[in-house]
Amino acid sequence: MENVATQETESHEDEAQHPIGVYLKVWILLFVISGLSYAVDYFDFQGMMRWSLIIIFMLLKAGLIIAVFMHVMWERMALITAILGPPLLLITLIGFMISEGLYVFGNRVDYMGRPAAAERIHVADVIHHDEEHGEEAMEEGH
């Protein structure tokens, strides 16, 4: 019986009743999560730690924006499934492209070999801000 009662109040809830605090809290939360994802780069986390933190913070932010700012959590289920269902197909595309990408990379290494400079390039080694302006650096590049 309790279930029925809560459903009743939920369905009667009008959008105008959302307290302003919900938006402000989510706003602050988005700021904090963005700060955290920037910290991932600033403190130079690497490897599995970096990737999983990036994905977690990204999904949290996306979820908050969709659910609260875009009001999806207050919509009827028929609309929610129509909005969030189709993009799930993208998982198939991503899966195919990961497998295809690995195959192409393998072929390139097998038939063309790795390029001479396999090390990642640091910007400071290419651009010298103290000595010259950006324009001169570009001319150098030609």
């Binding site: 990204m58 924006i65 028929a78 993009p87 390039i121 950006g134």
Partner: protein, 223 residues
């Protein structure tokens, strides 16, 4: 549990009700539903770009540039990594917040507050585009082109200009959209019917632009 003959519970039951009755399936204003359909299709466009980026980055044998160094800025004598993008992210989140408040005040039909908040949102959006223009000219001056760059894999340039360019186009269109609707609100175009759902529809578009940036920030700038 509740003793009804239909055993579906809660949300699943509302889906069956909405689709099986002889009425329109989605109980929202048509403009809002059309905006959602546009946003779902736009999701596929941006997803194609990001999946393309993933594929290109996986397949290149050249070393990928360090985005955190490429987008660093000289501040107070030291190089702060990725700071420009962090500032742009905070600007866009702030603009999403002001837009959410505008949508809230649309329920109370508070014209002046809606107008002001939409104007602030548009101003923040415009400053985002301004910073993006700065970012583009900085990278172009350093020799980044869609076909080459001095920092590593040439694909970096093509992905950068395509993805951020397409997102910047969306922000620019959003700023114009916001200004047009804000002006119509203040002029009283929606007073006759008392229907302010256009603010929520505009808000959906704006939050979507912010949403796309969340994914670009994660996959292109941080990864």
């Amino acid at each position: 549990m509740s003793g009804e003959s239909l055993s579906l519970s809660g949300h699943a039951k509302t889906v069956v009700e909405d689709w099986s009755s002889d009425k329109q399936a989605f109980n929202v204003p048509w403009g809002k539903f059309m905006m959602w359909m546009f946003l779902v299709s736009d999701t596929f466009i941006f997803s194609c770009f990001l999946v393309g980026y993933m594929n290109v980055r996986r397949t290149t044998t050249d070393p990928w540039p360090y985005p955190s160094e490429v987008f660093a800025l000289e501040m107070f004598g030291t190089s702060v990594p990725l700071i420009l993008i962090a500032i742009m992210t905070f600007i866009l989140i702030t603009s999403s917040g002001t837009m959410a408040l505008a949508v809230r005040f649309a329920h109370f039909k508070d014209k002046n507050k809606i107008f002001l908040l939409m104007l602030v949102t548009a101003a923040l959006g415009a400053s985002f585009v301004g910073l993006q223009a700065f970012e583009w000219s900085k990278l172009i001056a350093e020799g980044v082109r869609p076909w080459t760059n001095p920092f590593g894999a040439p694909q970096f340039g093509s992905i950068f200009f395509m993805v951020t360019g397409f997102h910047g186009l969306h922000v620019s269109c959003g700023v114009i959209y916001l200004l047009v609707i804000a002006r119509k609100i203040l002029r009283g175009d929606y007073d006759k019917k008392g229907d302010y759902s256009i603010v929520e529809i505009t808000g959906l578009y704006w939050h979507f632009v912010d949403l796309v940036w969340v994914f670009i920030f994660a996959f292109f700038y941080l990864w």
